[in-house]
């Protein structure tokens, strides 16, 4: 729906912010009316329901991850809690293609799902005051990574091998809402 509305390049549509089952639209009401917005939004909703993802080029973004060690300080704890070996954790994490539901929390933080249920772990009891940029984490049924260094409570199992978020670029994030993401292990 976000895609369908953005494709039309409405002058009144300043921004669309997708999240889980929500889409926030920032509208310039000097250029349109609530009536017109409703009409287009319901229209886009109906076409999205009818066509599904048709026309939306879902991109698959492949990202290299260095697992464990200094990059993934929580991987041993995750292995212990789930009864898996570190190797199995890495294998399970890299074997699925994840959908990007949204970016939020902090700049460039990418929310992905759904995780193999065998990897579901709780967040840390006490969040870290600083998690390095690019850190890949787990929280419940979700996986994701940090765009910038920030405080955070996700279990960190690795770090992206390459920068995925850079505010100096016009398109600051490699992964956008609606994209698919595949992780590969980099040794």
């Amino acid at each position: 729906m976000d895609y369908l509305l953005r494709k039309k390049r409405f002058k009144w549509l300043l921004e669309g912010v997708p999240a889980y089952g929500t889409l926030a639209l920032i509208v310039d009401f000097e250029k349109t009316s609530m009536h017109e917005v409703r009409e287009y939004v319901f229209g886009a909703f109906n076409s999205a329901m009818l066509q599904g993802q048709k026309g939306f080029r879902s991109r698959v973004v492949t990202l290299g991850v260095k697992y464990g060690g200094e990059y993934g300080p929580d991987i041993e704890m995750v292995a212990k809690e789930t009864g898996l070996t570190i190797k199995q954790v890495v294998k399970m994490h890299t074997s699925r293609i994840y959908h990007c539901y949204m970016l939020g929390f902090s700049p460039g933080f990418v929310y992905l799902g759904e995780l193999d249920p065998r990897l579901w772990v709780k967040r840390l009891d006490t969040p870290r005051t600083k998690v390095p940029a690019g850190s890949v984490g787990l929280a419940g049924s979700q996986t994701g990574f940090y765009g910038i260094s920030s405080p955070g409570g996700w279990r960190i199992i690795g770090r992206l091998a390459e920068r995925s978020f850079d505010v100096r670029l016009k398109e600051p994030s490699k992964v956008r809402p609606g994209d698919d993401v595949k992780f590969v292990e980099i040794r």
Binding site: L14, E15, G21, G104, F105, S106, P107, G108, S149, V167
Partner: protein, 303 residues
Amino acid sequence: MILQLPTRKVFGSLNSEKVAETISPGLLTTIQDEGRFGYRRYGIPPSGALDRTSYHLANSLAGNTSDTPALEVLGGNMTLRFFAGTKVAVTGAVTEVKTESKNSRTPCTFDIQPGEMLSLGFPEKGFINYVAFDYGVAGDMVLGSYSTYVPGGFGGSAGRAIREGDILSSLGCRKGKHSSTIATPNFEDSPRLRITQCLHSELLDFGRLSEYLTQGFEVLAESSRIGYRLRSLGKPFVPRIPELLSLPVFPGMMQLLPNGDLVVILNDGQTTGGYPVIGMLEEDSISKLAQAGPGGLVFFEFA
């Protein structure tokens, strides 16, 4: 042993004209403009001046267009020494402003001579001042804006608060259009702030909610440009609310925390949040809340 020397920095490009040196930065001084728009889908908040009316007034008095970057000073007590003669405007919180030749009170303008110092005192009413130089304050332009976003470490004054010794330069140009309407805000003690119902207001008993919000709230010390945290002067209101999925949130939205405290999201606030959103402040009320500052007392009423 590694000795960490204070890192002085010159903001702006190498060839921009140096205007002033920071003698004392105050509590938190950053470069801000109207904000960074269009990047919320990447989790990037708008940043920008918290009290837009006072910010626009500063630019207008300095001869600038409305979106020209200026200094935002939280909590006053800031001193600059000027290298170059320039026109400077100071607005916002009611504050005494001194130079060697003149004592004044905000809103005021100065024709600063080279070598002159300008000091802001402690705000008597309000919390935030804007200091605009004619032709703007130079800084890092990131994604279309000079606003500093400290939690993300980018924009404006190198993504951080201005420090002692930092050199401020002239942007050398003006941004945006001249404002058509210029207002001088007034600062009242314990302002009444206007809110409208929002996303999750209907999850609550409206009568009890509006009764709760009309009691006074104190702005807690753990407040920042990200958001202000407020505590009721009366009994906390702790209704049972189902767990919510994170959804997009915006500056001015009021969240209810499990212990009854409120968080009003401000310009550096997260783009998504999971606490129930029980109200939305009107734009003018957002500025008034920001100006109340930590320790301030505010009241809410539904519009």
